[in-house]
């Protein structure tokens, strides 16, 4: 394996002889965790908290699914159901998807991958976690103390004038979460610009970094807009300050424009970091330089840019002008190009590579399958005429779950499996992980594929009954069954990951024989990330197929 660093510091002779402190053993008090400025510890704090909120969001989803088993809607009232799907949406979007990959994996890996000791602003990083926890607290209080019934989109004038539920508190939570996101994005942008090690040029950056750079741009440009938009709803509710009030001649559809101006790009905040994860995994387990490095890097930026021009496709059935909708429709089709470039390039990376089906790769390939279906159903909805038929049906629900759950969560799981040995210094049970990857993939498809069909047939979203069409029931039962598998598939990793912390085999510095600076430091890394001065001399993903062959044989034998 070719080296990407030169070492030039004395003290290396001690390196293997005495156990040195790593970031996990450097301080054991609760204070050393809650007031840490170490990006790796903050990433772990995020990992624990996003997992908790994922559980809450998942429980709400389970309630929704079990209710839909029967067409009559006999488990709960409409109002309860509304609050349940709102809780599911708001928690999953604002407290899990927008945060999971960037704040856990991005936080942990960006400094390691570019050869820095920490992010540019460590205290800001800690502040972003506290803002996130404050956001979580507000949303939890609002949800448990009566609930919110507006849906996660908070459309006016329902949210600003009519809803009697805890809208303001939830919006306050989302507002705070927005600032958490902004501070994270700022940190990423500045770090990637200014903290790269000598020799780490822009085109030696791992694609994970490019993905997070594009994510940072969206966080910075989009989040403030939705923050002030939602703040205006809070003002309107609490001080009767008219901003969107239709009764005074205000424009409630303006809210939708502002909301989607952020919330469409926000989909890319969820998926771009996952793209970065998959780029790393595809190249590492094909043991081959990634195909079309520059195109993948630029396609991330293209997605970030085009993502800001397509929000109107959420509003084809609002008061938006027909001509405007046609333009938004065309721009949306354009967005398929950079996404497709990525999928083609990953496939081409695997082609003639020495593909190793380790557990991260199983999740990675699963990601590709699910994202492909999610992506290809996008054009159905981007078509103006077609979308009018499909708006607010389960087809839309299935589409965005394929992209957001299939894409973002599979990417998150793939990344966690890939970097777990680096993050914790432990190896989990590889074969259980592989089988679980399969279970998640099958469970996911069983949950959401029937929703495409039932949505096409006309099942509206956000309905808690469908007695008018009992023929939809088999699809809903399939979906609920799949969701149960999916739920199990999300619980099992928690078990074997936690188990590995106590009983797992110790990981070597580079258990996957992957390339990249993060694999050149110890597992887990020391607080200062590298015990030597980092100088990058080699190209990124410098895999040599011939030299790798021997490693592959070893890895295939299950022993790293």
């Amino acid at each position: 394996m070719s080296t990407t660093v030169k070492t030039e510091v004395g003290g290396m002779e001690h390196f293997h002889t005495k156990p040195e402190l790593n970031y996990l053993t450097n301080g054991h008090s609760i204070r050393s965790w809650l007031l840490t400025e170490d990006h790796k510890r903050i990433a772990m704090l995020y990992l624990i908290s996003v997992s908790f909120f994922f559980l809450i969001g998942g429980l709400a989803a389970a309630g929704v699914r079990y209710e839909l088993m029967s067409p009559a809607g006999n488990m709960m009232e409409s109002e309860t159901y509304n609050k349940l799907f709102t809780a599911h949406g708001a928690v999953m979007v604002f407290l899990f998807l927008l945060v999971a990959v960037p704040a856990v994996l991005g936080n942990f890996l960006i400094p390691l991958m570019i050869g820095a000791r920490d992010l540019a602003f460590p205290r800001l990083n800690l502040l972003s976690w506290y803002l996130y926890m404050a956001a979580g607290t507000c949303i939890m209080l609002a949800t448990l103390g009566g609930g919110v019934d507006t849906g996660w989109t908070f459309y006016t004038p329902y949210s600003s004038m009519y809803s009697n539920s805890n809208v303001s508190l939830t919006l306050l939570g989302v507002f705070l979460g927005g600032f958490s996101s902004i501070t994270t994005g700022m940190n990423f942008i500045v770090t990637i610009h200014k903290m790269r090690a000598p020799g780490m040029t822009w085109f030696r950056l791992p694609l994970f970094i490019w993905g997070h750079y594009a994510t940072g741009v969206i966080m910075l440009l989009g989040t403030p807009v939705v923050a002030i938009t939602l703040l205006c709803v809070i003002f309107e509710r609490t001080f009767q300050l008219p901003i969107y009030s239709p009764e005074l001649g205000g424009d409630p559809v303006l809210f939708q424009h502002m909301f989607w101006f952020y919330s469409h790009p926000a989909v890319y905040i969820m998926i771009l970091p996952a793209f970065g994860v998959i780029s790393e995994i595809m190249t590492a387990f094909s043991r081959k330089r990634v195909f079309g490095y520059h195109m993948i890097a630029f396609s991330s930026l293209a997605i970030a840019f085009l993502g800001f021009l397509v929000w109107g496709h959420h509003m084809f059935v609002s008061s938006q002008s027909m001509y405007q909708s046609v333009i938004f429709s065309l721009l949306t089709f354009l967005l398929a190009v950079p996404s497709a470039i990525k999928v083609w390039n990953w496939t081409a990376t695997m082609y003639k590579g020495n593909v190793v089906l380790a557990s991260p790769m199983i999740y990675g390939i699963g990601f590709q399958g699910l994202f492909l279906v999610g992506g290809l159903t996008g054009p159905f909805l981007a078509s103006y005429g077609n979308d009018i038929h499909l708006t607010a049906t389960y087809f839309v629900v299935a589409h965005f779950h394929y992209v957001m759950v299939g894409g973002s969560i599979m990417g998150f799981l793939a990344g966690i499996h890939f970097w777990w040995p680096k993050m914790t210094g432990r190896l989990y049970n590889e074969s259980v992980a592989k089988w679980n990857g399969l279970l998640v993939f099958v469970g996911f498809n069983l949950t959401f594929f029937p929703q495409f069909i039932v949505g096409w047939m006309g099942m509206p979203r956000r309905y808690h009954y469908y007695y008018f069409a009992p023929e939809f029931q088999p699809y809903h039962i399939m979906s609920t069954l799949g969701a149960s598998f999916l739920g199990i598939g999300f619980v099992i990793p928690v078990i074997y990951m936690v188990h590995s912390l106590f009983k797992g085999e110790r990981a070597t510095d580079n258990p996957w024989n992957a390339h990249g600076l993060e694999w050149n430091t110890s597992s887990p890394p020391p607080t200062e990330n590298f015990r030597y001065k980092v100088i990058v001399t080699d190209d990124v993903y410098d895999y040599d197929p011939v030299a790798e062959h021997e490693n592959d044989m070893q890895l295939a034998g299950g022993k790293a």
């Binding site: 700022m186 440009l221 989040t223 403030p224 205006c232 001080f239 008219p242």
Partner: protein, 234 residues
Amino acid sequence: MSHAAHGDEFNVLKFQYEDMDQQNDSYIVGMWTFLVTEVMFFGMLFLTYSLYRANYQNDWFTAHEQLDWKLGGINTANLLFSSFLMATAVRQAQLKDRKGVLLRLAGVLACAFGFLVIKYVEYSGKYEHHLFPGPGFAPDVTHFHGANLDHVQLFFGLYFAMTGLHGVHVLVGILVIGALGLMWFKGKKIVTEDYVPTELVGLYWHFVDIVWIFLYPLFYLMPNPSVGSGGGNH
């Protein structure tokens, strides 16, 4: 990185940076990215303003006559002057002139307080005339020459939202400038050794100033849409 300089830098150089250049560059890029988010933050309100003003030009023109362009003008001059003082404070920080910096920062603070006092006078005037939107909105109809009062209420909604948000920024500015001044007063090395922290606060203050430069003509200096080139009737 020069190792000789490292000893002097030890107090102010943070763990994660290699040298002062990297640290200062990071601070400045960070500040500018923050200002980008601020532009987007206010941008949404400016867009809302543009849309509603385009829709209700005549009613909004009538509504804007309730604002006192003289008070607004004094505040504009006030903020422009404070920005000038801030720019010279940064210059004095480069020259490591502690007294000069303190004097100028005190001037900036005085201007900022003055701005808020005038704003308070304006706000309480609007409140007394029942121009604050909501249930208490009950203006004297004779002042509005038959304008649609709903649209007038929208105008005041945005007026309070936008100038209020700007006022919050002025308040934050006072806190930040106060903290910076305190550090200069105590002679903390982090500000006295390097001008960049002062520069960062300066950038923020100029941004607050610029927002007002847009707010003032938009709210106080509307052209009459029914005469001249101020915009035709549709």
